[in-house]
């Protein structure tokens, strides 16, 4: 199996196209072989990328911009593994990685949480059997606290300062324990967390209160693989799913005055009112006033076929990748 990590250039800023809109196809700058499937990946800093592999290895790759190459800087083998008698492989997939330079936290199918530091050969801290089921994703809540989601529908907060191997708080869904696949925290208001589930449902949680989600929004028809708040404009949320769609959730309040940003196909707008369970506060995500809160939801993919596995958003750019082995770059998200 020939898996690679690649760095692409999606159109230079210096290269003004014909009428400023034609940016050309992304072209490959460099790539490097990767052992096992790339389950998750994140930039550690300007030059380094951390990749989580299905073999249980976590690798730091360094990108050298002057000669456009990638090299493997450091590797933690067997960061995730099953203690297994039968199969010789024994590695368990590392399903999620999150970085806060110089710390890296990884979680995997073995229910283990690892805390690595960039310069250290071994893990700084490992919480074995943190969860009896698979941990699907991890993100930082605060500098010393992380959030994990697992396949029995639980959202857990872990305090890394404490030595005990127990989560400091556990939240779970109300009804069926549907596995949760992704998690993201609101960039400014740290008590707002969004998770996506196997049934495609988007849940918004307020972790200051209660153990159940604030809102449940029926979104996709299949697993939601990733959820991201827009880092600089957190009224916007993006989710992508196995059903091949990528949704843009917009809660900026002045819906009428906002310019329409639909350059891409199918406009399937829906005005939803939340089914809320808790009273709350300032943010539009938590608000429950049915007259005021209208959310505009748009599917950004006109001809959907195969699953959209991953997305990322920064500024006006949106990048997503599909199972049809295609990467799409949208540089004018809010045009």
């Amino acid at each position: 199996q020939d898996n690679r990590i690649s760095v692409w250039s999606a159109g230079d800023l210096g290269n003004a196209g014909l009428n400023g809109e034609y940016h050309g196809e992304p072209h490959l700058l460099c790539d490097i072989q990767h052992n096992g499937d790339v389950m998750d990946m994140q930039f550690l800093d300007q030059e380094r990328i951390v990749a989580a592999s299905s073999t249980g290895t976590v690798t730091i790759f360094r990108h050298h911009p002057n000669n456009q190459t990638l090299s493997a800087d450091h590797r933690w083998e067997k960061a995730h593994y099953h203690v297994d008698q039968d199969t010789s492989c024994g590695g368990a997939a590392c399903t999620g990685v999150v970085c806060n330079n110089p710390e890296i936290v990884t979680v995997g199918e073995d229910g283990r949480i690892n805390l690595f530091r960039v310069d250290q050969k071994d893990a700084v801290r490992t919480i074995d059997n943190a969860d009896s089921s698979t941990l699907h994703a991890v993100t930082f809540l605060r500098t010393t606290e992380i959030l994990t989601v697992n396949s029995i529908g639980q959202l857990k907060i872990w305090d890394l300062r404490q030595q005990r191997n127990e989560p400091s708080q556990i939240f779970s869904l109300a009804g069926d324990r549907v596995p949760l696949h992704c998690v993201d925290r609101h960039p400014n208001q740290q008590h707002i967390v969004a998770t996506g589930g196997q049934d495609g449902m988007l849940s918004i949680w307020d972790i200051r209160q209660g153990t159940m989600p604030v809102s449940l929004l029926n979104a996709h028809e299949a697993e939601m693989w990733e959820v991201h708040f827009h880092p600089s404009d957190p009224d916007h949320l993006f989710t992508c799913s196995e059903d091949g769609s990528l949704w843009h959730w917009d809660t900026s309040t002045n819906v009428s005055e906002k310019p329409s940003f639909l350059h891409q196909g199918g406009r399937s707008t829906a005005y939803l009112s939340h089914s809320t369970m808790n009273q709350s506060v300032v943010s539009a995500w938590l608000s429950n006033d049915p007259t005021k809160d209208r959310m505009e939801i748009t599917n950004l993919i006109p001809n959907q076929t195969l699953s959209v596995n991953s997305l990322d958003v920064l500024g006006p750019c949106l990048v997503y990748g599909t199972d049809a082995e295609a990467i799409y770059v949208n540089r004018q998200l809010f045009a």
Binding site: S54, S132, S133
Partner: protein, 670 residues
């Protein structure tokens, strides 16, 4: 030793016996099997034997005499091509086009439908061309000569495929009629005969083209391809350089300018065109016979070409390079209003004239000939034989089927040709570790056998990570393939269980709604509890929620844990009630009753009376049921412990009963 091989791969184990040992395996000298005779080695796995014979990789080298050599194991792949990195773009993009075609509206009739189908065909071709570009880039940039050779071969194969597809598009999809047919064929030739391009460029970019030694060759090329404007442009340079031939040039230029060609729009009918053409032809004839061009042999030969003189055209064989170029040139200059059905005669004669008995037609030539003869099935059949991969024929046949051109042909085993080819192609995809997702959609669009094939294939995809398993499951669920869902969930749950991931195992059994497995997991938990005295994975058991109801054992587990919690919180009456319910409602398995009763002991021994009389009687009854049931139990080794336990229980129960009778009998307030 860890094998990683896919579902449609075949493992061939070959054992060579040394000569001293006796009979020698007859196979080695003949591998790879040219014939389809059964190979004495053991085959297993799916896939037709024929395909396996064709795809045998690795050849067997004979070893020295006498010594028995080590056995070798070959991995035989059904479809080598899908592993070529640069072709993946072809498979993915064409999948998108295929899906678009299947979903496109059928209600569009007539012209708009045809335009739509032509667009689909063009899309396929542009994907082939894009792939060719990539492959070419790869061939140029690689340094490994073997790889370069492979890429170059691929480029030529792709180029041939595009050639054939383009012709099929013109003749079948678009079904060009007389008039436009010729124009399309001209475009086709211009696009695909590019051996002369470098020569053309060289001449055009030189300082004085007319002095270039290949100048007349280039003019001839333009004329042969019907590129009149470019030819005239070049000739004007010659005329300027050579004023003496100005007269001749003017006439020739005029003739070329006036040449009637079919138009795409409906501006003239065929008869009009024919008339005009006839006049023009006669005019050319006159000039030639008058000897106008006698002094310049180049111009004379051009005039002869304009007149459609076969010999003159044939003289320029090297410039045309192929017989189909010859065919189109011939048609241009002798029968511009050729009808589609007449093509076959001209094609056959063109090929014969061009090849002239020196060389025999190659497979590509035969395919094109079949196309000119409008033998669609022949085209598909020949392509299937020649190409190593089903991609081309599957997609082409599907497109032709959408054009409603392949209705009547049914194969003897029931499904029609389109379905057969799609099934073969998709099956090939399934042996790839990630292209199988494309195969699913192809199976979906095979009405007769697609579902069955999918059911068989999907269970055999290796599930290396949970994410892959989830994708496979989603596919099965969307198609109501419940058997497969259950089986995959069971596999994943068993794997999780073996790795001691009880939570994962539970989550898989919830997905499959598999009560039996949930019971198995609960038993594991309970066993762990009995051994260690405490629960593992409390976060799971405490938070079971409604999934607790999936199986009785699971419910018991949840409730039992709740009992422990209540006890820990010192809510004894509730704990007692719960404990009793667990036994009387028969939720608890019989094997656990002893443990439950033992758990009741501390409650019985409390200072305060917890169990009521009713409850105590119930407990006693349970104890009696338990001990009465197996009298053999008393005879076991450790029955000391058992009897002591039973005695203690009886004592505690009796004491409790005494106390509670007194308590209940006491009148309040006195």
């Amino acid at each position: 030793l860890c094998f990683a091989w896919g579902p449609a791969e075949v493992l061939v184990c070959e054992t060579l016996f040394g000569r001293a040992g006796g009979s020698r395996c007859p196979c080695p000298s003949r591998c790879p099997c040219p014939s389809r005779s059964p190979c004495p080695s053991r085959f297993w796995g799916e896939g037709r034997a024929g395909a396996a014979a064709r795809a045998l990789t690795g050849s067997v080298a004979g070893t020295g005499d006498g010594a028995p050599s080590s056995s070798r194991v070959f991995v035989v792949r059904r479809d080598q091509d899908i592993y070529i990195q640069t072709l993946r773009k072809l498979f993915n993009e064409s999948h998108g086009i295929f899906m678009g075609l299947q979903r496109s509206e059928e209600e569009l009739a007539g012209k708009s439908r045809k335009a739509q189908l032509v667009q689909v065909s063009k899309n396929y071709r542009s994907v082939i061309r894009a792939c060719m570009e990539d492959m070419h880039q790869a061939a140029v940039s690689t340094r490994d000569p073997a790889l370069q050779g492979q890429y170059s071969t691929q480029v030529s194969i792709l180029s041939a495929m595009e050639l054939i597809w383009n012709l099929c598009e013109i003749l079948f999809v678009e079904a060009a009629t007389a008039g436009p047919l010729l124009l399309r064929l001209l475009d086709w030739v211009r696009l695909h005969v590019c051996d002369v391009d470098s020569m053309v460029r060289e001449v055009l970019s030189s300082e004085s083209p007319s002095k270039h030694k290949l100048f007349w060759n280039v003019v001839d090329v333009f004329v042969l391809q019907g590129r009149m404007d470019e030819a005239r442009h070049l000739l004007s340079k010659e005329a300027n350089a050579n004023p003496t031939s100005m007269n001749m040039y003017k006439i020739l230029d005029d003739l070329m300018k006036k040449m009637p060609v079919p138009s795409l729009g409906n501006t003239q009918t065929l008869t009009e065109l024919e008339l005009k053409w006839q006049h023009w032809h006669e005019e050319c004839q006159r000039y030639l016979q008058d000897g106008t061009f006698a002094s310049n042999p180049h111009m004379e030969s051009i005039c002869k070409i304009l007149l459609g003189d076969e010999d003159a055209i044939l003289e320029k064989k090297e410039l045309m390079t192929t017989w189909y170029h010859f065919l189109v040139t011939r048609l241009l200059y002798s029968h511009p209003t050729v009808k589609p059905m007449e093509l076959r005669f001209y094609a056959q004669s063109s090929m014969d004239l061009f090849l002239g008995g020196e060389s025999s037609p190659e497979p590509l030539d035969m395919i094109l000939m079949a196309a000119f003869e409008f033998e669609m099935h022949q085209v598909i059949k020949e392509c299937s034989i020649v190409l190593s991969n089903w991609w081309f024929v599957a997609h082409l046949t599907d497109l032709l089927d959408h054009c409603k051109l392949l209705q009547s042909h049914n194969l003897y085993f029931g499904s029609n040709m389109r379905e057969f080819l799609l099934l073969e192609y998709a099956s090939g995809l399934f042996s790839h570790h990630s292209l199988w997702q494309l195969g699913v959609d192809y199976f979906d669009h095979c009405p007769e056998y697609g579902r069955v094939y999918l059911e068989l294939h999907i269970e055999r995809i290796p599930l290396s990570t949970e994410q892959k398993a989830l994708k496979v499951l989603r596919i099965c669920e969307q198609r109501q393939m419940h058997e497969q869902v259950r089986s995959i969930c069971k596999i994943m749950a068993m794997k999780a269980l073996r790795n001691n991931r009880l939570g994962s195992a539970l989550s898989w059994s919830i997905r499959a709604k598999d009560a039996a497995f949930a019971t198995l997991i609960s038993d594991r938990f309970l066993k762990d509890y009995c051994e260690k005295g405490c629960f593992s994975d409390l976060d799971l058991i405490d938070n079971l929620g409604p999934s607790m109801l999936l199986s009785d054992r699971l419910t018991f587990l949840g409730k039992y844990r709740e009992f422990h919690r209540l006890y820990g919180e010192k809510r004894f009456p509730e704990a007692a009630r719960l404990l009793l319910t667990l036994m009387t409602a028969h939720i608890a398995p019989c094997s656990f009753w002893m443990t439950l009763l033992t758990d009741a002991l501390p409650l019985l021994e409390q200072k305060e009376v917890i169990f009521s009389a009713e409850q105590t009687y119930e407990l006693m009854r349970c104890l009696e049921d338990l001990t009465a049931g197996n009298p053999d139990k008393q005879k076991f080794q450790d029955d000391d412990v058992e009897t002591t336990k039973v005695e203690m229980l009886r004592l505690a129960l009796a004491r409790n009963l005494a106390r509670v009778i007194v308590k209940e009998g006491t009148v309040e307030g006195s």
